[in-house]
Structures are given as structure tokens and as C-alpha cells.
Symmetry: C2
Subunit: 300 residues, 2 copies
């Protein structure tokens, strides 16, 4: 059945990719951070603890201070390690200045760090699938030490080897299973031994798969999440690849009514660090939109 | 430039896939066998030591006797283990009857056996890529023991898991790199850890790649090798997939002049257990063919 062009007075229908809202790792990190602020009054964070400016503003009002360099943290302060994790070297630096370390490292990220270190100790050449500029990948890389190389998702088709004999592979937790699979496949052809730890977060995969499925049944998809959030960027890429009209917003104020022109069913997906309240705000705004008009929506 | 249709009087041009003739493992096994026959006069082999009936006839005339069951071997006899290898259990049976064991197991097959046993000891679910009815695969399987499954090349696309967590993978030495790569790729998607030993024989891969390349520059390909030879079957499959007219012969007597009709350039490839003298015989026969005629070749 063909979907008819929406007429005046028709309501916008919303469909959601699941899971939405904070992932386990972010929820755990934020609640740990909130508890620490309540306890110590002031907590320093090394790098922004979450890729969402509104959530950061809320936390800064409570007592959070974000610094980029461990040198900027006073002695014996409470220091929060965000979900992305940091290198062992940074932990040593903090310990040396008597910091109270509040570790918000996501357990899945921790696993990737540990597996990378293990593979390196076992003498494998370690490949990390991920974005080399992302703090999570930088920390995993430092854990691996030794013979390590970050492989960008765009480069998994590059010819590898010869000269590679024992290769260990881990992944940034937010990468796509398909990309890891392709990398492993290419490396297998040219090496004697490949050992892979699939360190992709299962919930992240589920969210990605859900966006891909959703794209087939809606007129457009809104992805809500920070512009520097790796997992949100993946959702946008997946949605765009399906050919479905896609917009990436950081909050509901970024919406333009014109984008809704001719769209009746809208899919909504959110990155793992997009707070629930922001998703609800967007949902309420769209639900209360009076109707879709020829030139976009019409607010109540 | 278009290849012109051959006219009367044109010679057949031959091109060869490389390497041809016995592979390292077969050459080593056969020379070990010949030495043993010279030394002991009579040598029993468990299963046919090579997939080539003419070579077998030659060896039987020297003093070889082929049996299928260890029970058929007399006490204290000299017993040859072919390149495919046998299980540890068979070795124990032979040792118990005081056999002199002459081990012709190909070192690459030995490696696959050892890696399968290692993966099993380390607690991996072991997948063996290969033909479950092939003696090489049966021996590898017995070495792995425990939780093991043979995956047919046709089944590498099957959905695997869930329920697989740590998977170890080895391959029959004659499989294609591309097939192993595909299996590994599919398993990576559904497991936490994959450990792969690429036990495919490098020379076998080179022979396969050579057939694939050759197919593009000839009018037809002759594959010469035993009908129950796994590596020869792979060459035939690769050649047929290219769309090039392909015939599989066991010796030059199987050739039909009609197949040559319209073909001027012929590719020749041989399995790893095809003796050199057989390839030369074919080569001489074709080289001495007077010309290609409208209805096939014309012998001198």
C-alpha cells in the first residue's frame, strides 16, 4: 500500500529506535558522578564526561569542573574518569598528586583496554578498529602499548601485510559489527594467526540495528545526540546510508519545521549519551504539533 | 585485440598454472615411502597414499600394499602414514602391534592437527573448515576431540550462534583463503572471541590463484588430477567459476579431441598429487598435435 501524502490536519506519527536514552555505561558513569558531587561538593572531570552540552551544564551547576589536563587539577581533589577511560599513565599522574579517583570507565571500554593489553603481552601485533582521535581509542591504544596500530573504519579494506604473522584485534566499543567482521576477514587472508576480541558493545549494536530497521518504515529520521559523539555519528551514517531523509540535532531547538514537509511518520533515535529528558522534550513537542501542513508542521 | 577463431594448421598454445607437479608434502611423503620400500621390501599404507591411480600402480609394483583398516596389518610390519595424517588413536593401535611407523604426514597438515588440539585444550569450541568425509579433516577432528564441528565450505554463510562465546578456527590445508575469511567474518559477528589459525597451505593457495588468473587468458583449461583429490576438486571449481571451459581428467587418455574445437590457447593445471611424468605426457601429446581443426585437434 502506498503511503499517501499527508494532508492538512493529519497528526505526525512517531516511531522510536530502541534502546533510547542513556546506555548502561553512561547511566552508571553519570550516577557515580552525581553521587560524588553530592559527597565532595566539587569534582573535577578529565575531559567532558558526556557528549551532551545541556547535560554538562546541569552537572556543572551541581559542582562539576571540566579540565583537559591533569596538571590543572589541584592536589587531593576528587577526579572523575569518564566512560571513555584514560591511560594507566594518567591514573599514575593523578595518584601522584593524591587525587580521589572516581572511576566512571564503562565496563565494556575497560574490557577493550584489558584485551588490548593482553594481546600485546602475548606478542600479537595489535590492531584497534576505531577513530584514532577518539579519547576511548587513545586510551585503548596506550593500554596496548608496544606494536599497535589503529585502523580507521574507512581503511578496513586496505591491503594488510605481508609481514604480519600473529595479529590481535579489538574494537572501539561503538564500531559496527559489520566493519569489524570485514577487518577480520581481510587480515585472516594474510596472516598465520588472528585473535579477535569482539569488544563492540551489544547495546550499541542493537541501537544501530534498530535504526537500520526503522529507516524502512518512516518518512524521515531524527537522530538526537552530541555532534562529537562517536556512537551518534554511527547512527547518522547508518540512517543516511538507507537513503531515508535524516537530520542530526543536539536538542529540539535545532528542528526546522520545513524538514517535516510531506512527512507523516517520523523515526526518532538517540545516541547513548543523550539524556531521557531531552528525548521526552522532543517527543512532547512533536506530539503536540497540531498537524503537518504543506510547508511543515504547525505548532499548537 | 580479439582472439581470432583458429584455422586449419594453427598449433595449440599451452600455458601452465604454477606450481604444478607434486607439492612439497606429497613429494616428501612419496620419497619417504620409496626409501622405506627399498629398505623393508614390503610396506603397508593405511589408505591410498596419493590420489592418483597410475602412481599407486607404480608404487604397488615396488612393494606397497594398501589396507583400509589397521586390523589388516600384520604384526611388526612397516606402516606408512600418508600425507593426510591419521588420528592419535590409530598411531596407538599401530604401536601396540609393534609396527615400524613411517610418518608421511604433511608438515602443514600436522600443524592443523596441532593447532586444533591446542584450541581444544584451551577451551575453545573448535570449527574446522573442510570436507567432513576427507581423511585429513577426520584426523584433524580427532586431534581436536572435545567440542568440535566441521563446517563445510558451502555452509560458511549459515547463521552461527548465539551460544558461541570462544571459537577457535582451523582449516583443511586445501581450502580457499576466501572461504576461511568468510567463515571467520561470520563467526566474528556473533562471538566474544575468535582465534584463527590460518592452516591453509601457501603453495595450494598459490596454485589456486594461478588457475584463477590463467582462466582469463586461455580458451579452455585442463585440470589433471585424481577424481577424489580435494585440492584438484578446488582447482576445477575455481576454473569453472570463471566461466572458462574446463575439463577434469585423471590422465591424458581421458582427453577427447572434440573438446579442443575452436580452442587455440589451452591452460593446464595439475593437483598437488599429480606426478610430473603424467603432466609431461599430456604436454607432449598436445605439443605434438599437428594442428587444431574445425572439429578438434589433429594428431601427427
Amino acid at each position: 500500500m502506498e503511503r499517501k501524502t499527508p494532508g492538512t490536519g493529519e497528526k505526525i506519527e512517531l516511531k522510536f529506535a530502541e534502546p533510547r536514552g542513556f546506555c548502561f555505561g553512561v547511566r552508571r558513569a553519570i550516577s557515580t558522578l552525581e553521587e560524588s558531587i553530592a559527597r565532595y561538593g566539587k569534582v573535577y572531570a578529565l575531559g567532558s564526561p558526556i557528549h551532551n552540552s545541556q547535560e554538562i551544564n546541569r552537572l556543572c551547576n551541581l559542582g562539576l569542573e571540566i579540565v583537559e589536563d591533569p596538571g590543572d587539577i589541584p592536589l587531593k581533589a576528587a577526579v572523575f574518569i569518564r566512560a571513555h577511560g584514560v591511560s594507566g599513565e594518567v591514573i599514575d599522574q593523578l595518584a601522584a598528586k593524591g587525587s580521589r579517583i572516581i572511576d566512571g570507565t564503562c565496563p565494556f571500554v575497560r574490557k577493550a583496554q584489558e584485551k588490548a593489553a593482553f594481546l600485546s603481552r602475548e606478542g600479537y601485533t595489535v590492531l584497534i578498529l576505531g577513530d584514532k582521535d577518539h579519547p576511548e581509542v587513545q586510551a585503548i591504544r596506550e593500554f596496548a602499548g608496544g606494536s599497535v596500530r589503529v585502523v580507521d573504519p574507512a581503511d578496513v579494506d586496505l591491503p594488510f601485510g605481508p609481514g604480519l604473522s600473529r595479529v590481535g584485534i579489538v574494537s572501539q566499543t561503538t564500531q559496527r559489527k559489520e566493519t569489524l567482521s570485514l577487518l577480520v576477514s581481510n587480515v585472516t587472508r594474510v596472516t598465520d594467526e588472528v585473535r579477535v576480541f569482539n569488544t563492540i558493545c551489544g547495546a550499541t549494536s542493537a541501537r544501530q540495528d534498530s535504526v537500520e530497521r526503522l529507516a524502512g518504515s518512516v518518512d524521515g529520521i531524527i537522530i538526537i545526540g552530541g555532534k562529537n559523539s562517536a556512537n551518534t555519528a554511527q547512527l547518522v551514517e547508518i540512517s543516511e546510508k538507507t537513503g531515508t531523509s535524516t537530520i542530526w540535532i543536539e536538542n529540539d531547538g535545532d528542528l526546522e519545521s520545513r524538514w517535516f514537509r510531506g512527512k507523516r511518520t517520523i523515526g526518532i533515535a538517540a545516541g547513548a549519551s543523550t539524556p531521557d529528558w531531552l528525548i521526552h522534550k522532543l517527543e512532547n513537542r512533536l506530539a503536540s504539533a497540531k498537524s503537518v501542513r504543506e510547508d511543515g508542521w504547525e505548532d499548537d
